[in-house]
Structures are given as C-alpha cells and as structure tokens.
C-alpha cells in the first residue's frame, strides 16, 4: 500500500517536471517588461553608470544591498562566536 502511494507520488512529480520542461515560458521573452525597459533606457542617464546591474544593486535597490551586507556581517559574527577561544 505504502509502496503504491510513493510510486504514484513519484509519477505525479515526474509528470509535473516533464510538463514544466515542455511548457516552459520561452527564454528571453519576458511576460511583463515595463520595469526592464525602464532600467535599460534610463539607468545610464539617471545614475551615470555604464553597468546597469551595479546601478540597480547600489542605487535603485540599495536597501536590498544593505540587507545583504547585514547578512554577511551576521555570518562573520556567527563564525567568530562559534570558533572563539574558550577557557578550560
């Protein structure tokens, strides 16, 4: 009984993945591209940077990068805390 259940679940999962591979959204054709268009057309003029990715990371989405830097800080603090020298 259990084996049949797992077999059915496995078949459903495989079918789902195959279907997802077949009916995948075509690559390079975004469904909605207003925001992409805006960044590509205006980033050079607004931020004066050639690298649009950097202008998004540090200017348009700067708050996200602040969180990323905080995650790095937390990781380093965690490593320093776990590997600290303990007496005795």
């Amino acid at each position: 009984m259990k084996r049949w259940l797992f077999g059915a679940a496995f078949l459903v999962l495989v079918g789902y993945l195959i279907g997802g591979g077949i009916w995948l959204h075509p690559f390079g054709v975004p469904a909605r591209d207003e925001m992409d268009r805006y960044f590509i057309e205006n980033a050079q003029a607004e931020v004066a940077a050639n690298n649009v990715v950097t202008s998004i990371v540090f200017d348009y989405r700067g708050f996200d990068t602040l969180g990323e830097a905080t995650v790095l800080l937390a990781a380093v603090v965690g490593v320093a805390l776990v590997l600290r020298k303990v007496k005795g």
């Binding site: 931020v47 004066a48 940077a49 690298n51 950097t54 540090f58 790095l72 490593v79």
Partner: protein
C-alpha cells in the same frame, strides 16, 4: 609549504591583489563590483593561510575588524548622504564634482571612471566589508583548535 609554492605565491600575490582592486574600482563600468572583487582579495588571504599557516597571520584579525567596521559605516553614511530626498539617493551622480561626470554618450561607450556618483564609493565600502568578512572567516577557521591560535 615547499619553497616552490612559497615563491609562486610571492609572484601571484601582487597580481591577484591588483586584479581584485581593479574589479572593485571598475564596478560601475564592467561586470563585477564590491562583492566580487572583495572575494578575489579574500582568496589571497586563503592562499596566504594555506602557504604560510594561520598562526603567522594572527595579527591581521584586528585589522580585519577595523576594515569591517569602516566598510559598514561608510556604506550606511553614503546611503544617508541622500536623506534629503530618500535613503540611498545618489546625490553625487551628475553633480560635476567627485564621480560626477555624465556618461560620455547613451548606449555603448568606452566608459569614464569619474562617473556614477556614490556607486564607486559604495563599491569600495562593500569591497572592504567582504575582504574583512571572508578573510576573517578563513583566518578563524584556520586558527580553530590550535594552542597558539
């Protein structure tokens, strides 16, 4: 490590440091930036730890702590520069001063290092943070469990 490894390390060291600094400095013109260049320089720290041993680099821990603080504070203060409009407002872009030039022409262009406002400064801040963070992680892992650590 053997004398061959130590000699090759001395040759590679300045090249790797210069490449990391280049990736950070040109973050607003070419692919890469603070995180990537910082990781390149942190890999130099890993190389030094492997070749010379962590005990000889023990003194760098304090410097890494200072660098981490300087990077984090510089990043937040640069973000606060634009608080007159919004947090993270790029006030230096297009102002004509430091990093204030406009791009030479829209679309493909050779690039000008003196552009993009606060972006290069933030790249350096994040780069210092990543150098210090990843470098101290490598150093702490190598020193763990040693009597002289």
């Amino acid at each position: 490590m053997s004398v061959v490894v130590r000699t090759v390390t001395r040759v590679i060291l300045p090249v790797a440091l210069a490449f990391g600094a280049y990736v950070i400095m040109h973050g607003h013109l070419t692919p890469g930036g603070g995180f990537q260049g910082g990781a390149v320089i942190a890999s130099v720290v890993a190389l030094l730890v492997v070749v010379y041993g962590g005990a000889r680099l023990k003194g760098a821990k304090g410097w890494f702590a200072v660098l981490e603080d300087v990077g984090a504070l510089a990043f937040v203060l640069l973000a606060f520069l634009g608080i007159g409009a919004t947090f993270f407002r790029n006030v230096l872009a297009g102002s004509g001063g430091l990093f204030g030039n406009p791009v030479p022409q829209p679309g493909p262009n050779p690039g000008d290092l003196n552009t993009a406002g606060t972006l290069p400064l933030m790249n350096w801040a994040v780069g210092l943070k990543v150098i210090a963070g990843l470098g101290s992680v490598v150093l702490l892992l190598s020193l763990f469990g040693r009597e002289d650590g």
